[in-house]
C-alpha cells in the first residue's frame, strides 16, 4: 500500500513539474547560450553528436531532462521519466553527481566504477558530451540560478553540492590491497 502511495506521489510530482517546466527550461536554455558564447570551441568537441538529444535522468527527481547542444547554444526540455527513443544516449544518477559531472568537479569514471551512474545507448556519444562539458568550464550557478545571481550564490551552491555528495558516498568506503 505504501509503495502504491509513493508511486502516486511520484506521479503527481512529475505532473506538477511538467506543468511548471517552462521557467526551468528558459533558465537552462539561457545558461546553454551563455556557455556557448563563452566557449564555442567546447561545443565543437561534440563532433558528430552536435544536435543529438541526450536524456539526463536524475534518479532522485520525478522528471528527466532532454539535452541538445549545437552551434549557437542548444535546448533543454523537462520530460517525463522513462524510455526516450529519440535520444542517442541516457545517463542516470543522483542529481548531485550529475551536477558535479556537468561542472567538472567530479570524476566520471570514479562515479561509474562505484556503480552510482547508469549509461545506456551510444557510449561514444556520452564520452563526447563529457569531454565537451569539461571544456565548457561550467560553474554550478550557471546551471541553477539566473545569471545575475550566479556570482553571489556560487559559494553557497558549492557547499551544498559537496555536502550532498558526501552524504551519497562516504569517503573511505573502498579497500586497499
Amino acid at each position: 500500500m505504501l509503495q502504491l502511495d509513493n508511486r502516486l506521489t511520484d506521479q503527481a510530482l512529475a505532473e506538477i513539474a511538467i506543468a511548471m517546466r517552462r521557467p526551468v527550461e528558459v533558465l537552462l536554455d539561457r545558461a546553454i547560450r551563455r556557455t556557448w558564447r563563452r566557449s564555442p570551441a567546447a561545443f565543437g568537441r561534440l563532433g558528430r553528436y552536435q544536435g543529438c538529444r541526450y536524456l539526463i535522468a536524475p534518479t532522485d527527481l520525478p522528471v528527466a531532462f532532454e539535452l541538445r547542444l549545437e552551434s549557437g547554444g542548444g535546448q533543454v526540455r523537462v520530460v517525463r521519466r522513462g524510455p526516450a527513443p529519440g535520444c542517442v544516449a541516457a545517463v542516470a544518477g543522483a542529481l548531485a553527481d550529475l551536477l558535479a559531472l556537468f561542472e567538472g568537479s567530479a570524476d566520471a569514471d570514479a562515479i561509474f566504477f562505484s556503480g552510482a551512474l547508469d549509461v545506456t545507448g551510444d557510449t561514444a556519444a556520452v564520452m563526447a558530451l563529457h569531454n565537451a562539458l569539461e571544456a565548457a568550464d561550467l560553474r554550478l550557478a550557471d546551471l541553477l540560478v539566473p545569471a545575475a545571481l550566479a556570482p553571489g550564490l556560487e559559494p553557497f551552491l558549492r557547499r551544498l553540492l559537496d555536502w550532498r555528495r558526501a552524504t551519497l558516498r562516504p569517503r573511505g568506503a573502498h579497500g586497499i590491497d
Binding site: L46, A106, A110, G115, T120, T123, A124, D177
Partner: protein, 330 residues
Amino acid sequence: MGSIELVCPAGSPAMLEAAVEAGADSVYCGLRDETNARNFPGLNFDAGELAQAVTDCHRRGAKVLVAINTFARAGDEARWRRSAETALEAGADAIIAADLAVLAHVRSLSPTARLHLSVQAAANTPEAIAFYAETFGVRRVVLPRVLSAQEIARLVGDVATEVEAFVFGGLCVMAEGRCALSSYATGQSPNLSGVCSPPEAVSFERSAAGMTSRLAGLALDQVPTGKTAGYPTLCKGRFAVDGEASYLFEEPTSLNAMGLLAELRAAGVHAVKIEGRQRGKAYVARVTRAFRSAIDALDRGESTAPYEHLLTDLAEGGREIAGAYNKRWR
C-alpha cells in the same frame, strides 16, 4: 639526490590547466587523431590549442610532452608525419613515440628534438633501450608496467637514458604496443587506431541481475547493481574456465605506487607518470595535488604516508594495488 619530475595527463586544455595548477612539472597530451593512443571522442588538442598550451606552460615553468605513440599504418604515414611536424612547430619539449618510423621522422626533422620512448615500445632490457638511444638519440624511456621495483633499479644502472615509470592509474599487464585483444573484438586497437575498446563498440545493459558490459556484443562482465565495476576492456573481463568464473587476465584495479616513490627515486628513476588522459580535470587535479605533496614531502626528508590513501575512490573497481612493482612471482 634530485627531485622526481611529476608527469601528468592532459586530455584537453581544461585538464592541462588543472594539472599545471595542481603542481605538475610536465604534462603529456596528444593531437586530435589516431596518432596518439587516447583517440577518444571530444578529447585531445588541435594544432592551435597545442601551440597555446606550450606557450602557457612555458610561462608557468611546466613542460609539454606530446604523445605520437601509435604505429603508423602502411600507406597512411602522412598523418604521423604531420603530427610530428605540428608538435615541433608548437614548440613541444619532447615527443613521446614508439614506432621506428615516427622516431626516425622526428630525428630527420630536427637533430636536437627531445625524444622519449613511449611505453608502447615495451622496451624493458638494456639492449633494447640502447638501440633506441644510439639509433635515434632517445633521451628517456617510459617503462612498461610489468617490472618490479628491483628490476627497475637494475635497469636504471644499465642504461644511459633517463627512466620514467608509471605510478598511478590504469594498469596494463600486456606487452604494450603488441596487445591484440581490442583488435580481436572490434578491429581497432590502441596500437594502430589509438583506442583500446573503442567507445562505439562498448555498451552497458541494465537488468535485474545487474549491469552487463559488452564489447562488440561480447559480454565482458556482469556486476550487481550498486557494486563497483571496471573498464570495459577484454583484459578486465570475467571468464568462465572449468566452470569457474574469474578475472582471467587482470582484476579491475588501479595502480597506486605512491608508497614506492622513495624506492623509485633511490633507484634513479628520473620521472613518474600519472595515467589517465581520458579521465577529466577533477581526476587530474586531485591526483596531481596528492603526488605533488608526496614528492615535496620526500624532498623534505618526510614520509609519503599521509598522502597514500587519498585517491582510493578514483581507482577502477574501487581498489588500488602496487602493480608489478611489488610482485614476487615470475
